[in-house]
Each structure stands twice: as structure tokens, then as C-alpha cells.
């Protein structure tokens, strides 16, 4: 198992190096003259350009710039924003908890609803129940996060006044940010503020979770139907096991394998989806930060965030692969 993990980590190294080269060139080859001109935009004056070029080392030879860039990255220095001057790493630590809460909320929604729906459809294949579930998953993959987000906000926020439609917590509660996880901070503050934090999380989680919900429903349905047709399931029934036991010990245990792989893959997609969801619900996370950084031409932040997203995505995939190998010995020993 240890060898498997080491091999997978080693494979990730050249990929990250390749990505670092692309991102390095992304900043250096920005249209508009040079990186300093692109960052300054319409405010570019020869003095300012020279000043920024010298400060950022844009005037050094390209290979020297790249090695400096890698050197800084290895020390955890992702550069700083041109807008507020803060270190990317510092702001990331403040904003990432929000994105993590959102993705976890979406995952809980998608797994919690998608797997039972898929199992339900698989138990009654080609029935009206199957039809309804198929229709739900079709809409899940066809509706953009932002359209669903606004629709939910309109119905449950504007019309029914059941749920808040923007932000992570009611600012009037004045909760001190300790961990930057809205829910944990709300628990720490007491007074049942946690209810407010959870209610803020519901609509964005549903909006972001709609695509994974559809994917999990489909894959669970297909996987359960597949496994149900296996000989060992027929044997299990033939030897008189209860339906409950056949389901839990023989069908689901084997049907889980493809489902877990897809859950891992969708985690990465959730991070990307967070960019749109956070914009719809003015969520103070990393996703909305990417958007504002692009709008502000804050390219160093964009460059670093893409790299950080990739590292997270690859780490999640690694965990999934290891988990899969753990669940499925056939992978481990091949």
C-alpha cells in the first residue's frame, strides 16, 4: 500500500511542474506588452511599469524568473495581491474555509439524496419511479449552477422568505471570526447562531450539489443494476438470504466501488463549480475571489489560485485512488 501511495505522489510531481511552467508563462505572456503593463492596465505609466518590473523581477532573464518563482512557491510564498497588498496565502486561509463549507454542504446534499435515489430507481427499473429519477438527474446535469441558484433564491428567499439568499451569516449577529468556518464560529459564539449559519448554507449547497446529485444518481442506478445481475447475487437469493441482507452485503458492497470513484472526481468539479455558486450567493470564499481577481486584473492572485486549486484537486484524486485501492484489493496488487 505504501508503495502504491509513493508511486501516485511521484506521478503528481511532473504534472505540478508542468503546470507551474504554464502558469509562469501565463503571467509573463499576458497580452498588452508585458506582465507589468497587463497588471497596471490603463494606469500603466513608464515609471510605474519600471517600478513594478523591478519589484517583481520581471526585468530578469526568463529562466532566472522561473527558478525564483519555483523557489518562492516551495517556501509557501504565492505572491501578493496588487489590489490590497496582502499575501495570497494569508487571504486564502481566511477564504478557503468558506469554500470548504460550501463544497461539503453540496457533497452532503448530493450523496445524501443521490445514492438513495439511484438505489430506488435501480430497485424498480423502467417503472414510473425510474422515469422520475431519470428526469431529476437529466435536469440536474442540464441546469447551470447560476440559473438554479437564482431560481432557488427567488422561490425560497424572495417569495417564501424561508431562507437567506446571500452571505455566510447574518452580519448583524457580529460573530467574531475565529476559525473562518461560519458554522464553527457560530457554534463558538453560542446563542444558537449556528441555525443562522446553517440556513445560509442550504440554498448554495443545493445549487452547487445539483450536478453531482445527477451524476451520483445515474452511477448508483447503473452500478446497482449491474451488480444485481451478477451470479453471486442470484446465489445469495437462492440460498435463502433475506432481501435486506442480499442488498446490504452482496449488492451494495460491490456497487459502492464505481460510486466512490465518481464521488472523488466530482469533488474537483465542485471546487470549479464553487466559482459560480459563490458569485451568485455573494459567498466569501476562494471561488468568488478568483472572479474578482480576474475582474481586477490581479493576475498574480489568479495564477496562484489556479495552482492551489490544482493541488487540492490532485490531492483529492490521490485520496480517492488510495481509498479505492483500499476498498478494492484487485487494484492494490496489480
Amino acid at each position: 500500500m505504501a508503495r502504491f501511495i509513493i508511486r501516485r505522489v511521484l506521478v503528481a510531481v511532473p504534472v505540478l511542474l508542468g503546470l507551474s511552467v504554464i502558469l509562469f508563462l501565463f503571467l509573463r505572456l499576458l497580452p498588452g506588452g508585458g506582465p507589468a503593463e497587463a497588471i497596471l492596465g490603463q494606469h500603466a505609466t513608464p515609471q510605474l511599469v519600471a517600478q513594478i518590473s523591478a519589484a517583481q523581477g520581471f526585468d530578469r532573464p526568463l529562466y532566472e524568473q522561473y527558478f525564483n518563482y519555483i523557489g518562492r512557491l516551495l517556501q509557501g510564498d504565492f505572491g501578493s495581491s496588487f489590489i490590497d497588498g496582502r499575501q495570497v496565502a494569508d487571504t486564502f486561509l481566511i477564504r478557503f474555509p468558506g469554500t470548504l463549507e460550501l463544497t461539503m454542504g453540496a457533497m452532503i446534499f448530493a450523496v445524501g439524496l443521490g445514492i438513495p435515489l439511484g438505489r430506488l430507481a435501480a430497485r424498480h427499473p423502467n417503472s414510473w419511479i425510474d422515469g422520475v429519477v431519470t428526469l431529476i438527474s437529466l435536469f440536474g446535469i442540464s441546469i447551470p449552477v447560476f440559473v438554479l441558484g437564482y431560481s432557488l433564491a427567488f422561490i425560497f428567499g424572495v417569495q417564501l422568505h424561508w431562507l437567506p439568499t446571500f452571505g455566510q451569516i447574518d452580519p448583524r449577529l457580529d460573530i467574531p471570526p475565529v476559525t473562518h468556518f461560519a458554522i464553527i464560529d457560530a457554534i463558538l459564539a453560542g446563542h444558537w447562531y449556528v441555525i443562522d449559519a446553517v440556513s445560509h448554507l442550504i440554498l448554495p449547497s443545493i445549487a452547487l450539489g445539483s450536478i453531482p446529485l445527477a451524476v451520483f444518481t445515474r452511477i448508483t442506478r447503473a452500478s446497482v443494476i449491474d451488480v444485481s445481475n451478477e451470479d453471486y447475487v442470484r446465489t445469495a437469493r437462492a440460498k435463502g438470504l433475506t432481501e435486506r441482507r442480499v442488498n446490504s452485503r452482496h449488492i451494495m458492497r460491490n456497487a459502492w466501488l464505481p460510486v466512490t470513484t465518481v464521488i472523488g472526481l466530482e469533488t474537483g468539479a465542485l471546487l470549479a463549480g464553487a466559482v459560480l455558486t459563490e458569485t451568485v450567493f455573494t459567498w466569501n470564499g476562494v471561488g468568488s475571489w478568483v472572479v474578482t481577481s480576474i475582474q481586477n486584473h490581479d493576475y498574480i492572485v489568479v495564477q496562484s489560485l489556479v495552482l492551489i486549486f490544482a493541488v487540492i484537486f490532485m490531492t483529492v484524486n490521490l485520496i480517492v485512488d488510495v481509498g479505492y485501492a483500499f476498498l478494492n484489493p484487485r487494484i492494490r496488487y496489480s
Binding site: 511532473p14 504534472v15 505540478l16 508542468g18 503546470l19 504554464i22 501565463f26 505572456l29 499576458l30 497580452p31 427499473p125 423502467n126 437529466l138 435536469f139 446535469i141 442540464s142 441546469i143 447551470p144 449552477v145 447560476f146 440559473v147 437564482y150 431560481s151 433564491a153 427567488f154 424572495v158 443494476i225 474537483g268 468539479a269 471546487l271 470549479a272 463549480g273 466559482v275 459560480l276 458569485t279 451568485v280 478568483v290 472572479v291 480576474i294 475582474q295 493576475y299 489568479v302 489556479v306 486549486f309 490544482a310 484537486f313 490532485m314
Partner: protein, 296 residues
């Protein structure tokens, strides 16, 4: 004298007329796929005929008629600038469908080139190309497209390229997988032993047989590409010309009026969903038609 007459006996079972003909027949018998085709056709026809059937000019607004709800003169209401929403949806179909479908086409071309070289060559070439693909795949989903548009700047071509590049790794992987499996198949070995050149083997024998999953995936990708293109527009990374009607940008403009004019979200949103549903249904139908074993 009796004359003998020839009797033609009609075959009881229709013979197979080749993969594509059979697939088309199966597709046309697939109800959901037909619904998908109708959804797509509605927007394609709407986009083509937009200049003739649009009730108003999508770029000219009457400020005194700003944000009117759906009524008899403006069936889908008007936006903030008093422009007719229906006309903008029809003209928007031109941008959203063209950009989305062309982006998939770009991705397909890039993916096919890289995937065929990797799958046909194998060895070191395959290793290097797949590592490059891994780098692109390391950036999740639409984020790659966002990064590329941020780099290339605004414009329809830029969006097509950005979304196309973000889709090409998927196609390359898919094609490479099929080609690697085909490399050892009997008819490829036969062609090779008869002295066919590697290029001929690839183009005449391997590619046609690896095409089916690619066609299905491209159709399904058209659905997500339309959503991604709208997503870029929504984030302010659309065509960049405020006069151009683009479904995603129309949504951003209207989000401020969720309370007073929800129909400005409803109509462009429904247009995106219906066209995406159309391509998803068609893609699923094609999958079943081209590989009947999958039919449930």
C-alpha cells in the same frame, strides 16, 4: 400453354444495412432522443431565422419601456434598457449555440490529433502527450476556461478556444483509450502484416472504429459547453460587447432585479436549460443507438 411468373418473396426480416443506417433507425425510434432533437431544432431554427422572426431589434431599447413584464407587445417582457427579451433570446441562441458547439468542435479536433498520435504511436510519445494532458486535467473544469479567457481577453473566438482547450483532454484520453485497445485487434494486425503504412492503418482502420464513443461524448459535451459558455458570460467573461445578446450575460445583467423582474432570469435560464436538455437527450440516444448493448 401456361406462362410462368416469377414470384418475389419479400424478406421477413429486414437485413442490416450497415452501422450508421441501423443506428439512425434506432435513434429515430428513441422517444427521448427525438424530444432532444426537437429542443435543439427549436433553437437552431430560431437562431437562423432570428432576423426574420424577431419582433424587435435586440440591440435597440426604449428606455420608457424598461423592465416591463411579459405582455402582448413584448411576449417575454423587456430588460433594463427596454430591449425586447424574446428578440434577445432568439439572437442569443446564435451566440450561445454557435460558440458552444464550435468550442466542442475545437476540443474534438485538438483531442483527436493528440489522442490519435498518442494512441497510435504508444511508447515515449504517448507518455509525454499524456503527461501534458494530465497537466490540463489538473485544473478542474471551467476554471481552466476562465484562466484562458482571462489570458486571451474578451471575444467569441477566445471563448471558443478556451472552452475547446478545456474539453480537448477528455477527448484525447477517450480516443487514446479506444485506439490502444484497437492496436492489438485482429484486423489491425492483418492490415499491418499486409504492409499498410501506420498512417493508413490509423486513418482507414483504427479511427473509424474508435469514432463512436467520441461522437456520443461530443454530443453530451455540447450540453455542458453551452452551460460553460453561459457561465463565462455570467462571470463577465463573455463576448464583451454589451450590445450582443448572450444568454449568460443576460442573466448577470438581470440578477439585480430578482425581486422586481424575475422573468429576466427565467427566460434566458430556460433557454440554456432546454438546449442543454436537448443535447443531453440526443447524446444519450446516440449512445444507445450506436451501441445497442447499452439499451436497457
Amino acid at each position: 400453354m401456361t406462362s410462368s411468373t416469377a414470384v418475389v418473396i419479400a424478406p421477413t426480416a429486414r437485413a442490416s444495412r450497415g452501422l450508421w443506417h441501423d443506428a439512425l433507425r434506432r435513434l429515430l425510434r428513441n422517444g427521448p432522443a427525438i424530444i432532444g432533437l426537437i429542443f435543439i431544432a427549436i433553437f437552431v431554427v430560431g437562431a437562423i431565422l432570428a432576423p426574420y422572426i424577431s419582433p424587435y431589434d435586440p440591440t435597440i431599447g426604449v428606455l420608457s419601456q424598461s423592465r416591463q413584464g411579459p405582455n402582448m407587445t413584448h411576449l417575454m417582457g423587456t430588460d433594463l434598457q427596454g430591449r425586447d427579451e424574446l428578440s434577445r433570446i432568439l439572437y442569443g441562441a446564435r451566440i450561445s449555440l454557435t460558440v458552444g458547439v464550435t468550442a466542442v468542435f475545437f476540443g474534438l479536433i485538438g483531442g483527436t490529433i493528440v489522442g490519435s498520435i498518442a494512441g497510435a504511436a504508444g511508447g515515449v510519445v504517448d507518455g509525454v502527450l499524456m503527461r501534458i494532458i494530465d497537466v490540463l486535467l489538473a485544473v478542474p473544469g471551467i476554471l481552466l476556461a476562465i484562466g484562458i479567457v482571462a489570458w486571451l481577453g474578451h471575444g467569441e473566438i477566445q471563448i471558443m478556444l478556451a472552452v475547446g482547450v478545456s474539453y480537448s483532454p477528455m477527448f484525447a484520453r477517450l480516443l487514446r483509450g479506444s485506439l490502444l485497445a484497437l492496436r492489438e485487434s485482429d484486423y489491425v494486425l492483418a492490415a499491418r502484416s499486409m504492409g499498410a503504412s501506420p498512417l493508413r492503418i490509423l486513418l482507414r482502420h483504427m479511427l473509424p472504429n474508435a469514432l463512436t464513443p467520441l461522437i456520443v461524448q461530443a454530443t453530451l459535451a455540447a450540453a455542458t459547453a453551452i452551460i460553460d459558455v453561459a457561465g463565462l458570460g455570467f462571470l463577465g467573461l463573455g463576448p464583451g460587447d454589451p450590445r450582443i445578446a448572450e444568454w449568460g450575460e443576460m442573466l448577470t445583467d438581470s440578477s439585480r432585479f430578482l425581486q422586481s423582474a424575475p422573468y429576466l432570469i427565467l427566460f434566458p435560464g430556460a433557454a440554456i436549460v432546454i438546449s442543454a436538455v436537448g443535447f443531453n437527450l440526443l447524446g444519450d440516444g446516440l449512445r444507445e443507438a450506436l451501441d445497442p448493448r447499452l439499451k436497457r
